[in-house]
Symmetry: C2
Subunit: 375 residues, 2 copies
């Protein structure tokens, strides 16, 4: 797996059960996965030579993030390296403009959108569709970075000029009437088998996912099935191998695709205990071309809450764990071994149960207790 | 953790979630845990210098097996190293004579037994109690090794003479009228908190555990509670820190203690998916003095089947996994990365469900499919 973050860390846990040991290309020894995996190579994921050396030791190469240059992936593919998802699929998770165009061709539900080559494109789109609009970097954004809410033409012209001068490729999207955000994950194998997880609700704060509710509360069955079918169709049409997470907006007019990710995803961390097969095992099964695992829920309600880094200092994580484990013997904690920085995802907690309000309150409290400097 | 086998391998998986990385003292690079952990020291667990060096890098030292000499543990304790379970507790899992004596003092249910210093002791015991009897090495046995069924006085005299000449310390036990074997696991922290798992039935073949049924089918509630209470009392009386597995015989006269183990145990592998807290996480919580996790079942019926090595050659494990995953998308596979040897435990499979007969048949079939040379 290229990238040594928490996704590789948790994929390594899943690999161990399958009798494997994840080979990791990490940047630094304190990367989450580098701290725990036996077989780590250090190097930059933008360095083709490092990637080439790394790939030599792998049966199949997959990714912990979307930041490997498409050209490098194509170069390795041309040399016979097996990379999943393949470059032609991954491109749709790397480039929002390519994704929007392809979704349009496939008849999948896009918001109104337009490429922004110069400031006037953005201003024209806002004037036509109404302000505010959502300006996005077509490449490189994550966790709220690379997304700007633009309120009027003046702000638009200024911001777009700055970004374009900086070389950032841009698209603009209408701001949809958002009821809530949903996500659906599917896994697809080279053989073409596809398995979908239940649709979940994701709750964002400041552009960062803070909470995932599985299954999405009160989602009508037909909408859930439609979302799963959409994800299955996209995985198949795009030739995805491995996991595909489809982030969706629920609007009065129906579902709209927000983003695609082709790897284990924060919206699927609940599956470690909450589904019969975790997303990490499923991703490995998919890229290894094993048959897909059972995606059914292990409890009526599963809530995952992200633990964000708080202000450093104060009560140690060790003491925080003591308090949490004493109060919530059934809460499942996952810490990523990361240095704490305010707002950074340093772990997550999953709580299972029968009653949504209860489970949700307990998960949120657990995550808060693990966050430094929360009081 | 001293010892790099599958127990350390699975403990490492659990450590990752707690934000830790298990430091492992392994014998060889192809030990199950050495294949997957980042932080491995090589050395022999009977080498005090190696143990001392190893302990320097640890907050607390625990064990994957019972084979560290008691004297070494005491020496390290005297030097201020924190080892759990402590030598005074672990001794009862290392030496069957010490265990039987202590159980007797505590009023716990022993079979009739006697130390065997010379062949005549064994013959006298058999003549008194009736043949056959069970001769056991007081130290060093596992997985059916170090246990002999002795049919008569002639065989007894000969076998005992050979073993005593070889320096093997011996005890003899009556052969109890065995209905079935049960096991109960508890974890105890230095603070003194104790948590018990549901009682399970263990099914042995040729002295090796092949199957664990959780909870033990048809076990009357009062017997289950008595077994849990017995394990809790023993953990407390012996000063165990970490896991204690109490292996029990169910007889017409009630429960009788067979063996004690003070570490994660084969009879608890079902807990990875079958209990809210796995035995591996629980062992870590105990030795780190965290509050104990929820031990409740995640499904009405959980069956764990061991995968034993078959004759090498034939269909690869990769192809076997394909077949198994296709037929049983919900079966949870754990492979230990070990070289296959006939009869050696190379992995296990866990199946969850509602109907015992169905779940049991599926688990047994899954384990058989993963075993080389089974047809």
């Amino acid at each position: 797996m290229v990238g040594g973050g928490q996704l590789a860390r948790m994929t390594h846990q899943a690999a161990i059960a399958l009798g494997q040991s994840l080979h990791v290309l990490a940047v630094a020894p304190d990367d989450g996965a580098a701290l725990v995996a036996a077989d780590v190579q250090y190097g930059d994921h933008t360095d083709l030579t490092a990637l080439r050396t790394f790939a030599k030791g792998c049966d199949v190469v997959t990714f912990d993030h979307e930041h490997v240059p498409t050209g490098h992936i194509r170069a390795l593919e041309a040399e016979g390296v097996k990379l999943f998802p393949p470059a032609d699929a991954l491109l749709h998770a790397q480039d929002k403009r390519v994704m929007r165009e392809r979704l349009g061709e496939l008849g999948a539900p896009n918001p109104a959108w337009r490429p922004v080559a110069e400031p006037a494109d953005l201003v024209a789109f806002g004037d036509e569709r109404g302000w505010p609009v959502v300006l996005k970097a077509a490449r490189g954004g994550y966790d709220g970075r690379g997304v700007w809410m633009v309120d009027d033409a003046t702000q638009a012209a200024e911001l777009a000029a700055t970004l374009i001068a900086g070389g950032t490729p841009l698209i603009v999207e209408e701001r949809v009437a958002l009821r809530r955000e949903l996500a659906v994950q599917v896994a697809r194998s080279p053989f073409g088998q596809v398995a979908a997880y239940p649709v979940v609700e994701t709750v964002q704060r400041d552009g960062i996912c803070v909470e995932v509710l599985a299954p999405a509360p009160g989602l009508p069955e037909e909408l859930a099935v439609a979302a799963q079918q959409l994800a299955i169709d996209l995985a198949t049409a795009l030739g995805v191998v491995g996991l595909l997470a489809v982030e969706l907006f629920e609007t009065p007019a129906g579902l709209v695709v927000n983003e695609l990710a082709m790897r284990p995803h924060n919206s699927g961390h609940w599956t470690i205990e909450g589904a019969r097969t975790s997303q990490f095992e499923q991703h490995l099964r998919a890229v290894l071309d094993y048959p897909m695992g059972d995606t059914s829920l292990t409890a009526p309600v599963v809530v995952m809450a992200n633990v964000l880094g708080g202000e450093p200092g104060g009560i140690s994580i060790d003491e925080r764990l003591h308090h949490l484990f004493a109060a919530e013997p059934g809460a499942k904690v996952h810490l990523y071994g990361k240095q704490v920085r305010p707002g950074r995802k340093i772990g997550h907690v999953t709580v299972l149960g029968d009653d949504l309000d209860d489970v949700r309150a307990r998960a949120a409290r657990a995550a808060r207790w693990l966050q430094e400097g929360h009081e």
